[in-house]
C-alpha cells in the first residue's frame, strides 16, 4: 500500500487541521481504487499471453495462417480502435450538448422526445441498424461510425441529463443569486458537478461502441469482426476464438481507461 500512505502524507502536509480525517479517507479510497484498477491490465495481458501460446501450439491450415498473421491483426485492431474512438468522440460531441440543451428550462417539454429518440436508437438491433444505414448511405467507415453513434447516444445523453438534473437546485439558485449569468452557472457550477455522472455515461458508451464495432465488418468497415465472422463462415473456430477474445480484451481495456478517466477527471472536493 505504498501509494496510499504517500497520499496520506501529501494530504497531511496540505491540510493540517480538522478536515484532514475526511480527505485522507477519501484519498486512500482513491488510491485503493486505482490499485484495484492496476490489476485489470495485468489480467488482460495474461489472457493475451495465453491466447498467443494457445495459437502457437495449434496446427494451422493455410486459411488460418492467412488470417492469423500479425499484419492482418494489427490492421484490424487499428481499424477497430479508430472506429470506436471516432464514434465515441462524435457521440460525446452530439449527446453532451444535446443533454445540456434538454435540461434548460425552455426545452423541458422536449426532453421526453429526446430521451425517446435515444431509447429508440438503442432499442433497434444494432446489426439491423447498421445494415439499414448501409442500404441507405452505402457501405464503409462513415456509415459504420454513424450506426455506432446512433447506438451509443443514449447512455451519454441520459447521464448528461441525469447529472445536470441532479445538481442541487439550491446551489444553482445560490449561483444565480450571486450574479452569475445562466451560462456561467452552467459552466462553473452545473457541468463540473455533473462531470462524474456524465463520465460514467461516456464510459458505458465507449464499451458499448467497442463491442458493437465488431459488426462493422458486415458493411466493409473493417475491425476485429472480420476475423470472427470468417471463422464462423469457414468453420475455423481458432479464428473466431482469437478475434473474439481480442475484441473482448479491447472492450475491457476501454472500460479500464474509462474508469481511470473517471477517477482523474472527477472534480476534487466532491
Amino acid at each position: 500500500m505504498a501509494p496510499a500512505s504517500r497520499a496520506l502524507d501529501d494530504v497531511a502536509l496540505d491540510d493540517p487541521a480538522v478536515g484532514t480525517q475526511q480527505l485522507a479517507t477519501r484519498s486512500s479510497g482513491f488510491w485503493r481504487r486505482l490499485t484495484g484498477m492496476s490489476l485489470r491490465p495485468i489480467l488482460l495481458a495474461a489472457i493475451l499471453l495465453m491466447l498467443y501460446l494457445w495459437v502457437q501450439v495449434q496446427t494451422l491450415d493455410s486459411i488460418e495462417r492467412r488470417v492469423l498473421n500479425p499484419n492482418r491483426i494489427r490492421t484490424d485492431l487499428w481499424q477497430h480502435v479508430q472506429l470506436s474512438l471516432v464514434a465515441t468522440a462524435l457521440t460525446i460531441v452530439i449527446a453532451v450538448p444535446l443533454g445540456i440543451l434538454l435540461t434548460r428550462p425552455f426545452a423541458r417539454w422536449i426532453k421526453p422526445i429526446g430521451l425517446g429518440l435515444g431509447n429508440f436508437g438503442q432499442a433497434i438491433p444494432s446489426i439491423g441498424l447498421i445494415v439499414l444505414l448501409a442500404l441507405w448511405l452505402g457501405i464503409g467507415f462513415g456509415t459504420a461510425v454513424i450506426g455506432l453513434v446512433v447506438y451509443a447516444t443514449l447512455p451519454i445523453l441520459r447521464n448528461t441529463i441525469v447529472g445536470l438534473d441532479g445538481v442541487d437546485p439550491a446551489l444553482k439558485e445560490a449561483a444565480r443569486g450571486m450574479g452569475m449569468s445562466r451560462l456561467a452557472v452552467l459552466g462553473r457550477v452545473e457541468l463540473p458537478l455533473a462531470v462524474p455522472v456524465i463520465l460514467a455515461g461516456i464510459r458505458t458508451a465507449l464499451v458499448l461502441t467497442v463491442a458493437t464495432a465488431t459488426l462493422a465488418t458486415f458493411i466493409d468497415a473493417g475491425g476485429l469482426g472480420g476475423g470472427l465472422v470468417a471463422g464462423i463462415k469457414l468453420n475455423r473456430p481458432a479464428l473466431s476464438l482469437t478475434f473474439g477474445v481480442l475484441a473482448a480484451v479491447l472492450a475491457l481495456f476501454a472500460d479500464w481507461v474509462g474508469g481511470i478517466a473517471e477517477e482523474v477527471l472527477r472534480p476534487r472536493g466532491l
Binding site: D14, D15, P16, A17, V18, G19, T20, Q22, L23, A170, L171, E173, A174, A175, R176, G177, M178, G179, M180, S181, A184, R188, V189, P192, L193, P267, R268, G269, L270
Partner: protein, 373 residues
C-alpha cells in the same frame, strides 16, 4: 463589557482577531455602509394561480438596519426577499435600493451588488474556500491580487485562519464554519445590502446562537442593510432592529421594533405568532444597563447579577433564590463594584411603563430573548 469595547473600536482598527473560533470584529474595514430599500406596491402573481403570492406589499427599510421578515412557511416571505435581488421578477410595483430602481438594472449585475446568504450555505463543493469567497469580486473584475487580499481579510474576520482554510474544500469544514464562509462570501464585494434566507436554520441550537451573536457583532461594525428571513420568532426578536410579521400573501400584519411588537401586538395573528410568554420575552429585550436602579442597600446579602444581563435574567435569579431583590454589579463574582439593586415590582413597573414602539429604542440593545421561551 465586551460590547462597549467592540463599539469603541474604530472601523479601520487593524487589530487581528484574537479568537480563532469567532467572527472577530475589528479586522473588517467598513467601506460601504447600508442603503435604504423601498418596496412600493410590489405584487407577485404566478401564472395559473388565483391568489397572488405577494399582494401589494409596501415596505421601507432604513439604511443600516436588520429587518426580519417573519411568518409561517408559504406566506411569501422568501418570495418577497427574492424579488429584491430579482431571483424572482415582480409582476408589478417598484423596488428601490439606495434610490435606484433595480428593475431597470441588468439583473446579473444587480445581483453582484447584493449579498446573498442561503440556508445550507450554498457553497460550491468543487471549489476551494478561497475560490468560493472570491467569486463575486472576480465577476466584478477585481484583479487576482486584490481578490486574494480580500479573501484573506474576510477569512480573518470570520475567524478562520486563511493559512489553514483558504485551500480547503467546503466538505472539509464543519456546518458552522461553512455558514461563516457563506456570510463571508456574501460580504466579499462589500455590498451595501445583504439578503439572508434562514441563514442559520440548518445549524444546531448552540452553533446557531453563536453564529447569531457573531453576526450581530459584525453587523454593528459593518452597518449593512440586511433583510433576514426566518420562520422562528425568537430568532426574529434577537436579530431584528425591526420585524415585519407577514401573513398570507406577504401582507404586513405589523412592522415595528421587537419591543413594540411584544408590548402591543397589532392583532390576534401577531399575538399567536408571539406565542405565550410575550411579557417574559419583553423582559428579555430590556437590559439592566438601561433600567433605573435603586440605591445600593446597606445589607448586601442579596444575590448578584451582572449589569449586562436582561431584566428577564434578573427575574430568573429572583425566582431561583427566592429573594424579591437582587444586586446589580459589574460581574457576578461578588467582588466587582455594585451599581444598585432592582426589585420584583421594578420589573413590573418596567413592563407597564415602557412606551410601546418608542422610536428612540436603541436597536443594538438586544439580549437573548429566547431565554423567555
Amino acid at each position: 463589557m465586551p460590547d462597549t469595547v467592540l463599539n469603541s473600536r474604530s472601523p479601520s482598527d487593524p487589530t487581528p482577531p484574537d479568537s480563532a473560533t469567532s467572527l472577530a470584529p475589528g479586522a473588517a474595514p467598513a467601506r460601504t455602509g447600508g442603503a435604504t430599500i423601498q418596496l412600493l406596491d410590489v405584487t407577485k402573481r404566478y401564472p395559473g394561480q388565483v391568489a397572488p403570492a405577494v399582494d401589494h406589499i409596501t415596505l421601507e427599510i432604513a439604511a443600516g438596519e436588520i429587518v426580519v421578515l417573519v411568518g409561517p412557511s408559504g406566506c411569501g416571505k422568501t418570495t418577497t426577499m427574492k424579488m429584491m435581488n430579482r431571483l424572482i421578477e415582480p409582476t408589478s410595483g417598484q423596488i428601490l435600493i439606495g434610490g435606484t430602481d433595480v428593475l431597470k438594472l441588468d439583473a446579473d449585475e444587480h445581483r453582484r451588488n447584493v449579498g446573498y446568504v442561503i440556508q445550507q450555505t450554498g457553497l460550491f463543493p468543487h471549489m476551494r474556500i478561497a475560490e468560493n469567497i472570491g467569486l463575486v469580486p472576480r465577476m466584478l473584475g477585481w484583479s487576482k491580487r486584490k481578490t486574494a487580499d480580500r479573501v484573506e481579510e474576510l477569512l480573518e474576520v470570520i475567524g478562520l485562519p486563511p493559512g489553514d482554510y483558504a485551500r480547503r474544500y467546503p466538505r472539509e469544514l464543519s456546518g458552522g464554519e461553512q455558514q461563516r464562509v457563506g456570510v463571508a462570501r456574501a460580504l466579499a464585494a462589500d455590498p451595501p445590502v445583504m439578503l439572508m434566507d434562514e441563514p442559520f436554520g440548518a445549524t444546531d441550537p448552540i452553533t446557531r446562537d453563536r453564529l447569531q451573536n457573531e453576526f450581530l457583532r459584525l453587523q454593528r461594525e459593518l452597518g449593512k442593510t440586511i433583510v433576514f428571513v426566518t420562520h422562528d420568532f425568537a430568532e426574529a426578536l434577537k436579530m431584528g432592529d425591526r420585524i415585519a410579521v407577514l401573513g398570507p400573501h406577504s401582507i404586513i400584519e405589523q412592522y415595528d421594533t421587537p419591543k413594540a411588537i411584544l408590548a402591543a401586538p397589532a392583532n390576534d395573528y401577531v399575538s399567536s405568532f408571539i406565542g405565550s410568554g410575550g411579557q417574559l420575552k419583553r423582559l428579555g429585550l430590556m437590559r439592566l444597563r438601561d433600567a433605573e436602579l435603586r440605591p445600593v442597600p446597606a445589607h448586601k446579602h442579596f444575590p448578584q447579577i451582572t449589569i449586562e444581563a436582561s431584566l428577564h435574567d434578573a427575574l430568573d435569579l429572583m425566582l431561583e433564590s427566592g429573594q424579591s431583590k437582587v444586586l446589580v454589579a459589574a460581574d457576578e463574582s461578588g467582588e466587582g463594584e455594585v451599581f444598585g439593586a432592582i426589585r420584583l415590582d421594578d420589573l413590573m413597573a418596567a413592563i407597564a411603563d415602557e412606551p410601546a414602539g418608542d422610536p428612540s429604542d436603541d436597536p443594538t440593545a438586544k439580549l437573548d430573548p429566547s431565554a423567555g421561551s
